[in-house]
């Protein structure tokens, strides 16, 4: 077998768990980045929907800048660019960049799902005498969140893979660990395959989790038979 394939695939199971700590880093950057992104996204979505033109323009500007520039550039601006003001260590830099970046995309997901809810829902709630904010919270948002789940799941998977950019600023996550172990052992391909398997496991688990959530939320949607 080794005569056909020019790589020593036997080391893949042997060294698989050399990457455990790195995988944990990847998971941490992603989770914290997504959490920050969700909070930023929710705030920005409401700001963009707001009738106040200052708020909605600020939100639109934020989305314009963040979606119009690469994540790697945003990461460098935070890690290298900010050093004249404040030095941010690699790990928090990665989390902040991922949070700000995902915040813009998640804001658009939330905004889209909120405005997709039929205006009759708001009217029905208001006709009961419910104040606007409570109608939003009790009637519109629960339905909007449900619609947001599939695109959010998609965004989370993108965020997980994007966390690999943190390797460029020396966060010891999966991709950086793969390159380090690859160069020290001269088994680049083998190590990178291990990295790929780790990513695939994590994206699979995430996909499955999102699918489960979608299924649970679908209870009330069953069509009439």
């Amino acid at each position: 077998m080794s005569t056909i394939i020019p790589w020593n695939l036997a080391v893949i199971p042997e060294r698989f768990f050399f990457f455990r700590d790195a995988a944990f880093y990847t998971l941490q950057i992603t989770t914290l980045g997504i959490l920050a992104g969700l909070i930023i996204g929710l705030i920005v979505a409401f700001a963009k929907i707001a009738k106040n033109p200052i708020l909605s323009n600020l939100a639109a500007g934020y989305i314009f800048i963040i979606r119009g520039t690469p994540l790697l550039l945003q990461l460098f601006i935070i890690y290298y660019g900010m050093t004249t003001v404040v030095t941010i260590p690699p790990f928090p830099s990665a989390v902040i960049a991922l949070g700000i970046h995902n915040g813009a995309y998640i804001a658009e997901v939330f905004r889209g799902s909120i405005i997709s809810i039929d205006y009759g829902q708001m009217e029905a709630a208001r006709s009961l005498g419910m104040p606007h904010s409570r109608a939003m919270r009790r009637i519109v948002l629960p339905q909007a969140f449900k619609r947001a789940v599939p695109p959010l799941g998609n965004q989370f998977i993108i965020a997980l893979k994007d966390s690999s950019l943190a390797s460029t600023i020396a966060v010891p996550e999966l991709l950086l660990r793969g390159r380090q172990l690859g160069s020290s052992s001269f088994m680049y391909m083998e190590m990178l395959i291990i990295v790929a398997i780790w990513y695939l496991i994590m994206t699979s688990v995430l996909t499955y989790a999102v699918h489960r959530v979608e299924k649970r939320l679908r209870v009330s949607d069953r069509d009439q038979t």
Partner: protein, 250 residues
Amino acid sequence: MTKLKEPFLRIEHLEKWYGDLHVLRDISLDIAEKEVLVVIGASGSGKSTLLRCLNFLEKAQKGKFYLDGKKIRNNERDLNRVRQEMGMVFQHFNLFPHMSVIKNVMEGPVHVKGLPKKQARNIAHKLLDKVGLGDKADTYPAMLSGGQKQRVAIARALAMEPRVMLFDEPTSSLDPELVGDVLKVMEDLGREGMTMVVVTHEMWFAKEAADRVIFMDDGIILEEATPEKMFTSPENERTQAFLKQILPQE
């Protein structure tokens, strides 16, 4: 009709534009307590807009509103309070799809009035029985037919114990065979003494249940009369033309 007639809901000089379009022109209208008022007219005549202005879902540019002789001010607190006294039933039901039928009906009492859940549940069960859907309490709206949805919507509005019920073409999006059940519930409500304003194309309902019918045309109230008068000898020729078009030829 020996119903009590007292000034209850009053609209004075209501004006409404959508951009350049003048949809309601200087409308004044009194609605008495326990009166069933049916509003008819062609589409685009402003009848739905009038109803929606009554509930402030549309903001009129001009006009004064009085409930029980008290002026309704155009601020959020006043409007939320007044809306609690006016139940609204929509053409497209607008049930809350993420809540079971009983939760739909309990939503107002619990989350607007602040009633304890147990008490709200009792009210909701009674109302669902009343509209003939006692066995559907735990299903979701998506499982119901249009007629059933609309009856849940009526129960949801009634759960607030409103003093007026507004119906905005409640049967217009229903299959013909489902219309009867909804109208039956509405007819019973009127007979029990609920004050009702009903925008509808169901002339049968107007004949059977209305105390008064108004015909709207191009943003004004062109004619108002008892149902007998309206359907046998309308005075205005536009009313005559409209009724000729809509009533089945005998």
